[in-house]
Amino acid sequence: MKYVDEFRDGDLAKNIAANLAREADPKRHYRLMEFCGGHTHAISRYGLADLLPAHVRMIHGPGCPVCVLPIGRVDQATRLAREQGVILCTYADTVRVPASDNLSLMRAKASGADVRMIYSTQDALKVARDNPGREVVFLAIGFETTTPPTAVAIQQAAAEGLKNFSILCDHVLTPAAMHAILAVEGGVSIDGFVGPAHVSTVIGSKPYEPFADDYGKPVVIAGFEPLDVMQAILMLVRQINEGRAAVENEFTRAVTREGNLKAQQLVTDVFELRDVFEWRGLGSVPKSALKLRPKYAAFDAELKFKVDYVAVPDNKACECAAILRGQKRPQECKIFGTVCTPENPVGSCMVSSEGACAAHYSYGRFRESAA
């Protein structure tokens, strides 16, 4: 596969690893956060931790929209499906998230609710067109990468005059989440960020400049492949060594400073900022999420149906809040691996395969056990 295989080349990985070994100062610790769940997945899947020097540590950030989706938001979806007989369309990632009353979307489906997994918002529109007598609701999750596809669907639905299509809007914003992590009393000991790949193709590299300027933390935007991640880590190490804090772009083949203006305009046309939005693990974050603009109110499931958001607190023993900020590691949580496992996730970090805890459990826990 072109533009994929070359970026997974083992020899090039060794070269970058050698560069890292040479350039990472043995007298200091580098604590780097990869914000995006896709990067967490790449690091785990390829065992990249083994290729980094011991004093360069990766902290897994909250960039997984499934992980940060509050239980109450999943409840809205299960309630609509079970109590109001809608056809609930969703990306497959969300169907196993445990919600209230021992339900998940998958369990709701097993109990007779019409829950359908789709690949694209175009599929959801098709379901609406094919079922004119039923209400179709799309659970719209995701960061800025996934928001434009929802915007396209809403505009299309409006143009077609589709009366039976609406969305539960749970789209969230990356820079706001990064602020929430950094703006903590006393600061956090994160030395630099590996910036998201595909979010950045849409928003560009500009939105990260305040982090470098205001917090003095370097940001290197990395592509999705393991070599991209390794090179970005090297670039961060270099900045830290040189005492610099700038936004650099490793993913130049897909990311520009301005981003995808067409996609941004579509999103601006369809969505506006919510004043406040609850994030699982991060608490309430101002101006961090989107809702539909009044002109598209007819497609807002929260207005169309009686399905208010009810906050559901996380288990008291859950350490996700600290883990998402890199203040604690998964193995330091009392319920990690015992009560809280991928089969029975208690907190957000275990819910999706890229959450810090899930990734550590699935790919990394053998390191503890020194097999």
């Binding site: 596969m1 072109k2 533009y3 994929v4 070359e6 970026f7 080349d9 090039l12 070269n15 970058i16 050698a18 560069n19 890292l20 070994a21 040479r22 350039e23 043995p26 914000f35 995006c36 769940g37 896709g38 990067h39 960039g63 929209p65 990306y91 690949y119 694209s120 918002t121 175009q122 599929d123 995701g142 960061f143 990468t145 996934t146 434009p148 596809p149 396209v152 990356t174 998201p196 790949a197 595909h198 979010v199 193709t201 849409v202 999705f224 070599l227 991209d228 090179q231 090297l234 270099r238 490793e250 993913f251 130049t252 083949r253 897909a254 990311v255 995808n260 067409k262 996609a263 579509l266």
Partner: protein, 82 residues
Amino acid sequence: MCLAIPARIEELTTPGNAIVNLGGVRKEISLALINDAAVGDYVIVHVGYALQKLDEEEALRTLEMFAEMGQIDELRSELGAQ
């Protein structure tokens, strides 16, 4: 974040759509989020939409960067430190 893959546009279909090819797998996707896509272009595909065109020159440049020998700290190399 977000699972997206680079694929080659093989065919432009109904206005705004295209068939892309990744390693022999073909799928119809939407071009609603980009402009001026042509057959032969590589695009990043996410949930059935092309998000951005892939800049092939930059891709090559990035691969070259991976192959570079890193900056060697002259002092440390003299001391024989790893």
